[in-house]
C-alpha cells in the first residue's frame, strides 16, 4: 500500500476487490501462536464453510482435520508425537486420545448454568500439548476477527479467543480457558 497513488487508480484498484472467496492458497505462512508450537506454514488441502483439512509444515509436521456442524466441532490432529481429537460445543470441551491401553476421554471444561467448570482430573501434559497445538492452528483456520458464530448463538472475538486457548490449554486450567476453547471451536464454523 504505497503512498501517492492517484485517485484515478482507486477505481482500477477496486476492480479487483470484488471477487468472491478465492481457492485456498496452497501454502500459507503461520502466525505467532502456531510458530511457537513449531508450525512454520500450512498446506491447505481443503477449506469450506464447515470443514478444513490442512497439512502442517515445520518442526512439528502433521495434519489437522476439522469438521464443524450443528454446533459441534470435531478436530483431529495427527503428529509424529501423538494424535488427539478435540470435540467442542458452546457447552462442553473434551479431548480423546488413543494409547496402547485404549481410548482415553478427558473433559477439559463443561458449562453448568452460566459458569464454566473445569474438572480436577487433567490429562497428561503430552495430551494437553497436542490440544494446545490444535488451538494454535485454529488461530489461523478460524474466522478472523469478531463474528457471530454457532448459527447466531454467540458473538466471539475469534482470533483473540483462539490465541487465548492456544496459550492456556496446557498451562492454565481455568474456567476462562475452557470458555476460550469452546469459543475457538465455534469459530471454526464459517457458515450459518
Amino acid at each position: 500500500m504505497r503512498r501517492g497513488v492517484t485517485l484515478a487508480l482507486l477505481a482500477a484498484a477496486a476492480v479487483g476487490c470484488g471477487a468472491r472467496s478465492a481457492p485456498p492458497p496452497a501454502v500459507v505462512a503461520s502466525s505467532d501462536a502456531a510458530h511457537r508450537r513449531g508450525i512454520a506454514a500450512y498446506e491447505i488441502r481443503h477449506a469450506d464453510a464447515h470443514e478444513v483439512d490442512v497439512a502442517l509444515r515445520g518442526a512439528t509436521p502433521g495434519q489437522l482435520h476439522s469438521l464443524a456442524r450443528a454446533g459441534v466441532t470435531v478436530q483431529e490432529l495427527e503428529t509424529p508425537g501423538g494424535s488427539v481429537t478435540v470435540t467442542s460445543s458452546l457447552e462442553r470441551v473434551e479431548a480423546r486420545i488413543s494409547t496402547a491401553r485404549g481410548v482415553e476421554r478427558w473433559t477439559l471444561g463443561e458449562k453448568r448454568g452460566a459458569d464454566w467448570i473445569v474438572p480436577a482430573a487433567r490429562p497428561p501434559s503430552s495430551t494437553l500439548g497436542l490440544v494446545a497445538t490444535v488451538f494454535a492452528v485454529d488461530v489461523d483456520m478460524a474466522v478472523q476477527g469478531s463474528c457471530v458464530v454457532e448459527g447466531g448463538r454467540a458473538h466471539v472475538a475469534c482470533t483473540l479467543e483462539c490465541t487465548r486457548a492456544a496459550t492456556c490449554a496446557d498451562q492454565d486450567p481455568s474456567p476462562r480457558c475452557a470458555q476460550a476453547m469452546a469459543g475457538c471451536g465455534a469459530c471454526m464454523d464459517q457458515g450459518r
Partner: protein
C-alpha cells in the same frame, strides 16, 4: 460589502477555524509499530477494509473469511480483531479508500475521509440554518465530543451524518430553485442519501423520512415536488447499486450480490442483544454515558479517547424534538426535516433487538444544533451564552477526546464521569 456577503464570509471563517482545530493532532492515537497495528476502536474494520480494497484482496467480500485468507496478503495491517466490513454495504470503506489512495495507508490518510465528511456536514448545517444562526449552529455542533471524535476516526458514522445533512441541504436548495438548477440539487440529494444507505442500512428510513418531510412541507406542497422526490429515490437507488460496481466488474454475478445481502441481513438479525459498551436506547438522550475508544497508560500518565457527549448538545435532543414539533405547525420545511431526522434516526433502535450504542444518534446531532440555535436566534445574548457554554464544555472534554497525555488521576475522573456510570 452587503450584509449577506458579510455573513457568508463570517460563516466561512468559522468553518475554517473549526477545520484547523479538528485537523490538529489528527494522527494521534495512531496505529503503532508493534507486532500488529492498534487501530482506534473499529478502525480495524473500516480502515483495514479500505487498505485491503486497494490491495485487491478478495477476502474482503467473503463473509466470515478465515484468518489464513487474510494472511495471504500480509499481516502488517492485520490486528487480532480486524476483519473486512462484509456485514455492511461498502460505502464507508470506499470513502476511506479514496483518501488512503491519495495520502497513504496510515492513521492520517484514513482519517482524512471522515474529517472531510465532518466539514461537509458543517457546511450543510451552515446552508440549512437561518443566516443569523448559521455560525452558532456550526460551532454548537463542532463543540460536541462525539462529533469531534467521529470526525477524526476512520469509522462509518460520520459518512451517514454527512449524507443525511448534505442530502437535506440539497433538497432545501432545490425547493427555491427552478429548472436545471433544481434538477442538479435533487440529483445531489439522491446521491448523498443513496451513499448514506450504502454506508449503513439504518440511513434508509432516514432518507425516506427526509423525502416525506419535504413532500408534506408548505414549500414542497406549493411546488408539487412529489414526482421529483421519486426521482431522488431513483438516484439514491442507483448510487447504492454503484457502490457494488467493483464486485460486478471483478466478475461477481447479481445472484452473488443478492447472497451477500442475505448474509449481511442474517448477521444483523443474529447479533446479541447486549455486548461490551452497549446501552439501552432510552438512556441515550438523557445520560452522558459515552463510549470509550481507547485508554493507554504510559507510566504516570495515560492517553484516552472517549466519544464524549457534550451535555449542551445531547441533553437538548428531546427538547429540540418538542421545539421542532411546535414550530413545525406552520409546515416549515426546516422544522419538519428536524423532526423527520430525529425520529427516523432514533426510532429503529427502539424496535431493533440487537446491541446498540448511543453514538448511533450522531446523524441527528446537526438537526439538534439547527433547532436549538434557530429557536434562540432572536435572543442573541442567550444564544451566545449557550454556545459559549458548549465551547467551555468542549474545552473541558478535549483531553479525553484527543489522546492528550493526562495524569492517571485525571484519567480516572474522566472515565468515572464519562464511561462508568
Amino acid at each position: 460589502m452587503t450584509p449577506s456577503r458579510r455573513r457568508r464570509l463570517g460563516l466561512l471563517a468559522v468553518l475554517l477555524a473549526i477545520a484547523v482545530v479538528y485537523a490538529l493532532r489528527l494522527g494521534e492515537a495512531g496505529w503503532g509499530s508493534g507486532p500488529f497495528p492498534t487501530y482506534l476502536y473499529d478502525e480495524g474494520y473500516t480502515a483495514f477494509h479500505a487498505g485491503r480494497m486497494l490491495a485487491r484482496d478478495p477476502a474482503i467480500h467473503t463473509p466470515n473469511a478465515r484468518r489464513f485468507e487474510y494472511l495471504e496478503r500480509g499481516r502488517d495491517d492485520l490486528s487480532p480483531t480486524s476483519r473486512a466490513e462484509w456485514s455492511h454495504p461498502p460505502g464507508a470503506p470506499l470513502a476511506v479508500a479514496a483518501t488512503v489512495a491519495a495520502f497513504g495507508f496510515d492513521a492520517v490518510g484514513a482519517r482524512l475521509a471522515p474529517l472531510l465528511a465532518a466539514l461537509a456536514t458543517l457546511a450543510a448545517v451552515g446552508s440549512l440554518a437561518r443566516p443569523r444562526a448559521a455560525p452558532f449552529a456550526c460551532v454548537l455542533l463542532a463543540a460536541d465530543g462525539v462529533f469531534f471524535v467521529f470526525a477524526r476516526a476512520a469509522l462509518p458514522y460520520m459518512f451517514v451524518t454527512a449524507a443525511v445533512a448534505v442530502g437535506s441541504a440539497c433538497l432545501v436548495r432545490a425547493l427555491v430553485r427552478r429548472g436545471r438548477a433544481r434538477a442538479a440539487w435533487l440529483v445531489g440529494a439522491g446521491v448523498a442519501l443513496g451513499f448514506g444507505v450504502a454506508v449503513r442500512w439504518t440511513a434508509l428510513p432516514v432518507a425516506l423520512a427526509v423525502l416525506l418531510a419535504v413532500a408534506v412541507s408548505r414549500a414542497g406542497r406549493r411546488r408539487r415536488v412529489g414526482l421529483s422526490l421519486l426521482g431522488v429515490l431513483g438516484v439514491a437507488g442507483v448510487t447504492y447499486a454503484l457502490t457494488f460496481v467493483p464486485l460486478l466488474v471483478a466478475g461477481a454475478t447479481p445472484s452473488e450480490l443478492v447472497a451477500l445481502h442475505r448474509e449481511m441481513l442474517w448477521f444483523h438479525r443474529h447479533l446479541p442483544a447486549s455486548s461490551g459498551q452497549s446501552t439501552a436506547w432510552y438512556t441515550w438522550a438523557t445520560s452522558l454515558r459515552s463510549t470509550l475508544f481507547r485508554a493507554v497508560p504510559r507510566g504516570d500518565t495515560a492517553a484516552i479517547v472517549v466519544a464524549a457527549k457534550n451535555p449542551l448538545v445531547w441533553l437538548a435532543i428531546l427538547p429540540s424534538l418538542a421545539l421542532a414539533a411546535w414550530r413545525a405547525r406552520r409546515g416549515s420545511v426546516r422544522e419538519l426535516l428536524a423532526i423527520a431526522v430525529v425520529v427516523s434516526v432514533y426510532g429503529p433502535w427502539v424496535i431493533l433487538q440487537r446491541f446498540s450504542l448511543s453514538y448511533y444518534l450522531l446523524p441527528l446531532l446537526p438537526f439538534v444544533a439547527l433547532t436549538v440555535t434557530s429557536a434562540l436566534a432572536r435572543r442573541r445574548w442567550i444564544l451566545q451564552g449557550y454556545v459559549a457554554a458548549a465551547i467551555a464544555a468542549f474545552a473541558l472534554l478535549y483531553p479525553a477526546l484527543s489522546n492528550l497525555p493526562v495524569s492517571r488521576a485525571t484519567e480516572a475522573t474522566y472515565l468515572a464521569v464519562l464511561v462508568r456510570r
